[in-house]
Point group: C2
């Protein structure tokens, strides 16, 4: 049927683009990205190991390795059906939340680093023969930046809670 062909065509295009996106954005390996993209597309029914191997034309070993990786990152999970040995992998419901958590964690690290930069600046200011005005200006920019990061972290936290609510209320 023509419609089916069209769909699978559309599918592989989306997988490819999503794949590249996650590769660049989240620093995952090409295969991990493609697998995750496929599972996002498949939705809650997920896909079996075999289906993944065939759809992406990859080796079983790569599939295995990358599926484990994705699980340890908290981005996918699997369920089983009674009387069926196969695993059905799917993008975990929390993959979104986990990603957000990762981002929040990253901003916190950034905050921490910039606090150290600020303290370094304070340290430098007492000692060097540099233009103190300049260093002080740098320092104040630094502190402003930290405030900004705080707002960022708060915002992300709020968003996370929003999502948690909408997910739970279902």
């Amino acid at each position: 049927m023509i419609k089916e062909l069209e769909i699978s065509n559309q599918k592989s295009k989306i997988i490819e683009e999503m794949g590249v996106y996650f590769e660049c954005q989240d620093g995952m390996s090409p295969l991990s990205s493609r697998i995750f993209a496929l599972l996002v597309l498949e939705g809650s029914k997920g896909a079996t190991f075999e289906e993944i191997v065939e759809a992406l034309e990859i080796s079983k070993s790569s599939a295995s390795t990358n599926l484990q990786l994705l699980q340890s990152m908290g981005r996918i999970s699997y369920y089983t059906k009674p009387g069926d040995r196969k695993r059905y992998f799917k993008a975990s419901v929390n993959s979104l939340i986990n990603r957000l958590d990762d981002k929040i964690e990253a901003w916190k690290r950034e905050r921490c680093l910039h606090e150290r930069v600020a303290s370094y600046r304070k340290n430098v200011i007492t000692l060097t023969d540099l233009d103190k005005k300049e260093v002080e200006k740098d320092l104040s920019f630094n502190l402003q930046y930290i405030e900004f990061v705080d707002v960022m972290i708060q915002n992300l936290g709020k968003l996370k809670n929003n999502i948690l609510q909408t997910v739970n209320q279902e």
Copy 2:
């Protein structure tokens, strides 16, 4: 002097940690990360090509390549002093804004991708023998996700404007 040693020690630790951070977070090469970290630390006075090469113990060629890369990414810039051929490289004032822009751009791409996923789902729903209820549920989650991304983009936009204001009002 002991204090100076202590400072340079502190400096190299911060550079290393910041370096790793940018490497993981923004996907830049190890050397680009270290250079950028150094320049963040140096503040508005910046550092010359030679200083960078010596401080990080890297080759001139690597320094050159990575400095060009960082410039093309909009993360650093340089100024010159009259009667001095050297370039003084520094983290560009806009590096923060540029990073934010990149993040906003990324979320927009993600939004776009998920719209395509949604349209794929609608397409599938009309055709397959799958459990329609499931697919519809997936679809609604999908649309919710897109809304979430919108909020994210808006938030980032607001933050960007805030920063632009505080920067300009100086």
